[in-house]
């Protein structure tokens, strides 16, 4: 019996239409495992927002999901520009997304706030010019 079930996804940075695919796949797997609707929703939204962020700001990255006994961990890793001011980025409505991304309906400044809102813990490890790793946990 594995203690932790792990899933790995590559998030393609070049394509907006495929952003969110990993989140849909995780949702399907969690349904198969029989998790309750609210847990699935939390993981799915947090992951979806994270995926979109990686596509908008960091040209993609990787998403790892670990399903444990007590919690579900989502680790999003990118090699993007990093987040200069985390507290500013955490404000609802604040966005550095370019206009051409906003016209697509993204960049509303709700990504990070939503990720925090739907998870029980969120840790941001960011280095300017190197990349960002966000670790989120949803308690079971």
């Amino acid at each position: 019996m594995p203690d932790v079930l792990k899933f790995h996804f590559d998030v393609d940075g070049s394509d907006f239409s495929s952003a969110g695919e990993a989140s849909v796949l995780v949702k399907k797997k969690l349904r198969q495992l029989g998790y309750p609707a609210d847990i699935i929703r939390k993981v799915s939204i947090a992951m979806y927002e994270g995926e979109i962020n990686m596509v908008i700001h960091a040209n993609g990255g990787t998403a790892d999901v670990e399903v444990g006994e007590k919690d579900i961990t989502i680790i999003l890793k990118d090699e993007g520009p990093g987040i200069p001011d985390i507290s500013l980025a955490m404000q609802e409505g604040y966005s550095t997304a370019r206009e051409n991304i906003r016209v697509l309906g993204f960049g509303a400044g709700m990504g990070l706030p939503n990720m925090k809102k739907y998870t029980d813990s969120m840790d941001i490890d960011t280095v300017i010019g190197k990349g960002t790793t966000i670790t989120m946990k949803v308690n079971l």
Partner: protein, 465 residues
């Protein structure tokens, strides 16, 4: 049928759900066309033919549309069903009107239905206009979860109940137009012919879609199911051609009771535009609808009041039990609208009567649980991932499953064995042929073209020793 199967129509009958998409095993070649197109991965090829997993099938009719051998069929009542009742009312779906070439007046169709032996006709489009009015009222309620999702397409409500627990509440709880039409038609008979017993009244729905047949068969409208039988637009179309021909040249009878809104329901966007509110989304085609639902589920589409989703391309005119190309049907409906008012049917009240609410609300019913024991489910999932990694990821379908991952799942569930994978088997065979001993034996036999298979068998026997 060449073989006996314990389940009708190639269904495994595990869920108790009554389906209306079925398979003629004798026509099925076991090709992978439907396998690859099924949006819920409900089909497997076993023993050379397709098998539909009942608990996954959403009756969307995709497999009926794509089967080149016509092995997939929609099951529905035969036209002769009208002989079972003393008094029958036809309930034509508006999509029926788009099937006829050069038709300039709906009255010809209504007259045709009467000529076919129906005692009365109640157009579903009329009830659709009422539903549009009720939808406008319902959306304005303050306690309603937005976006309100249309309940008209039964494929959509079924897939929401299977996959989207959070969206179940968004489904509009008002009965679909056909249910309201059936209720009103039945009431009308009771009023005009009080001498006729309820059981002798046949309310016959003329449906473009197999999912509606299932909807009726499974009693999704609960106690409020007033439909007696469902026949197909296709069957009615051919029967109508004959009777309509006989009246050629006659003045069109002024019989239609519907306006533009009612007709609009037959194609994508018709229902949504009738809410008179720009905050709507209308999509069609099952794959597109699934994508839209995924995004709504992630709260990614905001500022929407209403969502109309139709599983068939083009909307109901694209149903698997129609004749005409959906876009041509839509163009014909367009031209029929020119002489109609916007709407002919308005509700008597500014509130929605209780009787028009569906008693059966849509509830989450996960269909693909690996095991009810979480530990066991985790174990199985881990095994699925492990096996999935080893599979070729060609998704060729030769094993009988639509994708390599679905195959891995089947193996873990004990529904398939790894040797069904032709790619793996070929690899093993090649390894076997390259085995030193086998190579030397092969040389001795100098395998020729004539009796190759016999010799290979011998080689295999030798190698086994």
């Amino acid at each position: 049928m060449s073989k006996e199967y314990n389940s009708p129509g190639g269904h495994d009958c595990s869920s108790g759900y009554k389906h209306s998409v079925s398979l003629d095993v004798s026509k099925c070649k076991g090709c992978t066309t439907c396998l690859k197109r099924c949006p819920t991965e409900a089909i497997r090829i076993k023993d050379g033919h397709a098998v539909i997993n009942s608990s996954r099938c959403i009756d969307c009719g995709e497999c009926i549309r794509v089967c080149q051998y016509k092995a997939k069929k929609a099951t529905h009542d035969d036209l002769s069903v009208i002989n079972n009742y003393k008094y029958t009312v036809a309930l034509p779906a508006p999509s029926l009107y788009g099937q006829f070439d050069n038709l300039d007046n709906i009255g010809y169709i209504i007259q045709g239905l009467l000529d076919l032996g129906f005692d009365d006709v109640f157009e579903v489009a009329c009830a659709a206009e009422l539903v549009s009015a009720y939808t406008r009222l319902y959306i304005k309620r303050s306690n309603v979860k937005k976006p309100v999702i249309s309940s008209a397409c039964p494929v959509i409500t079924r897939i929401i109940s299977m996959n989207y627990p959070y969206l179940c509440e968004n489904i509009m709880p008002i009965l679909a137009p056909v249910d309201i039409a059936a209720y009103l038609a039945r009431e009308k008979v009771h009023k005009e012919h009080p001498e006729i017993d309820d059981k002798d009244i046949g309310i016959i729905f003329i449906s473009p879609c197999p999912a509606k047949v299932s909807y009726v068969k499974n009693n999704f409208a609960g106690e409020r199911n007033y439909i007696s039988a469902t026949v197909s637009v296709r069957d009615i179309y051919f029967a109508l051609l004959d009777v309509m021909k006989k009246r050629e040249g006659e003045e069109p009878p002024d019989l239609t009771e519907t306006g533009i809104i009612g007709l609009g329901w037959a194609s994508t966007g018709g229902e949504a535009t009738a809410i008179f509110n720009q905050r709507y989304l209308a999509a069609d085609g099952i794959e597109n609808c699934i994508r839209v639902l995924d995004q709504i589920d992630n709260s990614d589409i905001t500022n929407l009041d209403f969502v109309e989703l139709g599983a068939c391309a083009g909307g109901c005119v694209g149903g698997a039990m129609t004749i005409a190309n959906p876009y041509i049907a839509q163009a014909r409906l367009q031209s029929l609208k020119h002489y109609l008012p916007v709407s002919k049917n308005r509700p008597a009240s500014e509130w929605i009567p209780d009787i028009f609410f569906n008693e059966n609300t849509v509830t989450y019913n996960p269909y693909n649980l690996l095991s009810s024991d979480r530990q066991k489910a985790m174990q199985m999932m881990s095994k699925i991932e492990e096996i999935g990694e080893k599979l070729p990821k060609t998704d060729c379908g030769s094993c009988g499953a639509p994708t390599c991952m679905a195959f891995a799942e089947d193996i873990v569930k004990g529904e398939a064995t790894a040797d069904n994978c032709t790619v793996i088997m070929r690899q093993l065979f090649n390894e076997f042929l390259n085995n030193e001993h086998v190579v030397s034996v092969l040389k001795d036999y100098s395998v020729g073209a004539d009796n190759k298979s016999d010799q290979i068998t011998e080689v295999c026997d030798d190698a086994a020793e």
